[in-house]
């Protein structure tokens, strides 16, 4: 047993073979345990898995793996990047209908030199090879964008427009419940002026599934 949840903390107590321990809590891969004599300390997962259950079975703890990457229902993440020359920060949540198709909702804040804005959209994501460690996807969606010119720009007024987008990207499984995500989206902003605007967006970020 160590004094803290980390590999460098000193070992201050050894639980005897045959002794029972109580698990009080778990933080990351460390277990906070209480020994029979009342001493409390931290042990890591690999040591916990060498203990026995009261019926003599080996203790094992579930650990997310690449199968969960393919089959998990929910996913959420944060991405940042470039939206037509402005900075963009996005948060998303997704739900998988099956391993190949999922629905996502996005909220983004756009911070540019001349204007700021907010964008919300929903989209469908199709993954032809969801069991690949680097899984490519295609996406199609629609939403709204609110644009507010910066206060130092004299002209211009706030406006809200509808948008449509297509895109493609990769979900890359890293470890445990985590994945990296990189994507490109091409937006069409349906403005009230004569011409529609087109905006290109590049983003990278990370997400986790559960």
């Amino acid at each position: 047993m160590r004094t803290g949840p980390g590999r460098g903390y000193p070992i201050f107590h050894v639980v005897d073979r045959g002794e029972n321990v109580d698990i009080l809590a778990q933080r990351t891969d460390w277990f906070h345990i209480r020994a029979a004599n009342g001493k409390e300390g931290w042990v890591d997962r690999s040591q916990m898995e060498r203990t026995l259950q009261p019926d003599g079975d080996q203790v094992s703890f579930e650990r997310a793996n690449i199968d969960d990457f393919t089959n998990a229902k929910w996913e959420t993440g944060i991405l940042a990047g470039d939206f037509g020359g402005a900075n963009i920060i996005s948060l998303y949540g997704g739900y998988s209908l099956n391993p190949y198709v999922s629905l996502e909702a996005w909220g983004s804040q756009i911070l540019g030199n001349f204007s700021n804005g907010w964008m919300g959209s929903v989209n469908v994501v199709s993954e032809p090879w969801p069991d690949w460690r680097i899984s490519p996807f295609l996406t199609l969606g629609a939403g709204v964008i609110r644009t507010e010119p910066k206060s130092t720009i004299i002209q211009g007024e706030d406006r809200t427009d509808q948008i449509g987008h297509v895109g493609a990207g990769f979900r890359i499984y890293t470890a445990r419940r985590f994945l990296l995500r990189a994507e490109y989206k091409s937006y069409v902003v349906f403005t009230s002026r004569d011409e529609n605007e087109e905006v290109e967006e590049w983003k990278v970020g990370f997400a986790f599934f559960f």
């Binding site: 980390g6 698990i23 778990q26 933080r27 891969d29 900075n87 911070l111 700021n116 206060s151």
Partner: protein, 226 residues
């Protein structure tokens, strides 16, 4: 002689009837006269006092999240220094890495230009309120223990953070890069004190030329793991 044999036989008979195992072994009869095996299984000889329990992983209390509040001071470039406060939520991914979201507020004062020029104001009073949010990735670079006196040891972590966010100040939302370092002092296994120093970098063109402003913040915080 005959009576002697008779006495010996009598003793043997008495002992075998008495059922005393220890004395039986004295005469070498131990094996033959051992009690027949009990009809009850060995498991039932002693009633177990402890109920059998299975470890249900879902029942283990997971403490990967950390939530808390903080207060300190923030220096807004050109706008003086004022009190700042905020909230923090962190998720610990491994013993090293964590992700953290913070949201806070401070207040900008008058620039030197505004103070010297008399009545001129660059921004309105409501635009002087600075609010921000940040999403950071953190790493516990120096975990350790500190000692207070002879009998007390506390776990600590020195960590680095870096991330992105947005700051609303002087009428605009500004893309903000956030870097800093902090010290986590665990009072117990699930209650911690924090001392943090952070730099919020954003571009501002309020005083003519556009420049990158460094806005330094130092704060003390309190968090709970759950």
């Amino acid at each position: 002689m005959e009576s002697r044999f008779r006495v010996l036989f009598l003793i043997v008979a008495m002992i075998s009837l008495s059922g005393c195992a220890a004395t039986k072994n004295l005469f070498g009869f131990g094996n033959q006269s051992a009690p027949p095996p009990s009809s009850e299984g060995p498991g039932q000889v002693i009633d177990p006092e402890v109920e059998r329990r299975e470890i249900k992983e879902a029942a283990i209390d997971r403490e990967d999240f950390e939530i808390g509040v903080y207060g300190g001071i923030m220096s807004i470039e050109d706008f003086g220094t004022d009190v700042s406060y905020g909230v923090r939520l962190a998720y610990h991914i491994t013993e090293g890495f964590f992700v953290e979201g913070t949201a806070g507020q401070s207040e900008g004062g008058l620039t030197s230009f505004e103070e010297l020029s008399g009545g001129a104001r660059l921004i309105t009073d409501s635009q002087r309120t600075l609010t921000y949010y940040n999403l950071n990735l953190g790493y516990n670079i120096l975990p350790g223990e500190v000692f207070i006196g002879e009998g007390r040891a506390f776990n600590t972590n020195l960590y680095l953070i870096a991330g992105l966010g947005s700051t609303r100040f002087a009428g605009d939302d500004r893309f903000t890069v956030n870097v800093g370092a902090g010290y986590r002092f665990l009072l117990t296994d699930s209650i911690a004190l924090h001392l943090d120093f952070r730099d919020h970098l954003f571009d501002i063109d309020l005083l003519g030329e556009e420049k990158t402003a460094h806005n330094l913040e130092g704060h003390l915080g309190f968090t709970v793991f759950f």
